[in-house]
Symmetry: C2
Subunit: 351 residues, 2 copies
């Protein structure tokens, strides 16, 4: 049976996994980063009366929140509702979500790094895997793909060293230039934790996983290659990618697309600032690409959103595969009708 | 007299202006963005007891602050101490500095845009030009170059629409997608104001001017070309560049270097995330470049800072000219000894 015949009957799971792996598809699949978020009234209702962390730990609630965008905005993949700092709870770090992570005692010394436990994720945060198992059971009959995710070591280290979010992460960068051995030890420990955590997610049913490096784009190219790329390469090497392709997202990473390529990730998730057509041509057969509409552009009229979707899909053909997505997560002020226009335009591509 | 002979006796002003214009020099000149800033105890002392705006309006004090880095950290150019929002005070906008600009009534409608006055800068903010005249008189005997500056229209519009600083400037971007005519009218008015303001600075003695587009890097390439590039081109066209070259800085602009080139600016000031060697080669004879050490890297040991300066100077030779600088302004936590190591290494390049 030829590919052109086979693709005519793809399930959402097949379309998604084929696009990630660079196999022929009828059209790009579509989902949105932070598709389960405050822009949905139903999300805000489900979050009422509980803290963010409680919502991540409450299996029923997290399953409900994860599934919301499937019916509400027509997404074609479901991603675990959680936070990149959830697995860090198992490392012996006293942290709070307000809503960003706030670390009671920021990690600044070798002694503190050595005290960090590399936990068995299955024992430390069992609810994460229970949420994934339930989601997989719910999605299997509909053949909708399930994604897991983790924060990348550099981004986790950025918060752990700084103590909280920051505009320029000056404390982290001072450590990088003044105490490189301490930062290296911290990144090694976080890489260990992340590999185990993502593999456990794959065991629990995640069919693809996304690695979010939110702050790595703050580094220049040389520093990125020295501090970030090796962590991505280690994760790519040790992940069970035969069972779940890896999507790598670097926020503000327009200057490091070449280094992202060298990670070996299956899919490069590109920030909205990246010229998608040029990047897809540049990447070519070496990887699939994901992206990359500016989430703010979902405020535009639906016909403009549809035109952008067609442009992105056309541009994405130059790469090995293409998953339609935003270039950053949905924002609280993103209009739900814009999200629906985005997924509807994707579904129309095959017609 | 050949250029090799002539460059042996360059004054700081000659070296700076020649580098901006792509004429032969013995070595790149050096200065630092936000070199007069909180990292200097002397700056903090001079700012005591007055608000930021008062310091900008107090001629004696602003002159003193502007000159501090010359003696204290060995910079080779002086830049006017002021704020990008100072000229906006003359437009009839009620704004406060806390310390970032906070707009009492954010500009969201065409009526509000039409009420904005395009002032005669000389009458609206006369102290700015008095500060420049005094600085020029103080610097002329020493042959140190004097820089003026302005915020670029898009960045001013970003604050005026949003009302204050923001992570993603969602309100501004919604206006861009939903009410493009209002944003276009606002940018036109701000461009008018900026041209007049910079030309008045040149008349008052500025020998070069820098345009700061702090937030333009938030746009994707297509949006940048539509909304930002035309404002830069209009300013380049109407500025008295025969009397003062224009330096264009776009924060987070690694993805728009080609569009920066098309502005026609004399010098492209590159963010620290840009691969400086690759960018200088790419720019070649089409422009001079400025940059681009990460300000956080000034926390490194002096010998590493010196090595980076040598690398940057070597890389900069591929462009038409090179001005050594950071890729972003000095931070409050920047060590003054790191700044001194940076300028000292620049001076050693000729030996």
């Amino acid at each position: 049976m030829g590919d052109s015949l086979a693709t005519a009957e793809l399930t959402r799971t097949e379309r998604f996994l084929r696009a990630c792996r660079g196999e022929p598809v009828d059209r790009p699949p579509v989902w949105l980063m932070r598709q389960a978020g405050r822009y949905l009234p139903e999300y805000r209702a489900a979050r009422e009366g509980v803290t963010f962390l409680q919502a991540c730990q409450d299996v029923e609630r997290a399953v409900e929140i994860s599934l919301q965008p499937l019916r509400l905005v027509g997404t074609e993949a479901v991603i675990l509702f959680s936070d990149i700092f959830v697995p860090v709870l198992g490392m012996g770090v006293d942290l709070d979500f307000r809503p960003g992570p706030v670390i009671a005692e920021p990690i600044r010394t070798r002694e503190q790094v050595e005290k960090l436990v590399v936990p068995d994720a299955r024992a430390a945060v069992p609810y994460v895997f229970e949420i994934l198992r339930r989601l997989r059971a719910a999605l299997e009959p509909e053949a909708v793909p399930l994604l897991g995710f983790a924060g990348a070591p550099f981004t986790l280290a950025a918060y752990l060293v700084e103590g909280r979010g920051s505009k320029d992460f000056g404390t982290l960068k001072r450590m990088l230039y003044r105490e490189p051995a301490v930062l290296r030890a911290l990144l090694e420990r976080l890489t260990e934790m992340t590999v185990d955590y993502l593999n456990a997610q794959i065991d629990a049913g995640a069919q693809a996983v996304q690695l979010f490096d939110t702050w790595a784009g703050l580094l220049g190219v040389a520093e990125y290659r020295e501090w970030v790329l090796p962590t991505h390469q280690a994760i790519v090497r040790r992940l069970r990618r035969d069972r779940a392709p890896l999507i790598l997202y670097v926020n503000g990473g327009a200057h490091v697309v070449d280094a992202m390529l060298e990670s070996g990730a299956d899919v490069l998730s590109l920030d909205w600032r990246v010229d998608f057509a040029a990047a897809a041509r540049h990447v070519g057969r070496r990887a699939a690409v994901q992206g990359n509409l500016d989430p703010c552009a979902l405020a535009a009229p639906p016909e403009r959103i549809a035109a952008w979707v067609r442009e992105l899909a056309e541009a994405g053909r130059a790469a090995r595969g293409h998953v339609l997505n935003l270039g950053h997560g949905c924002l609280p002020e993103t209009p739900a009708e814009g999200v629906r226009a985005f997924t509807a335009a994707a579904r129309k591509l095959a017609q």
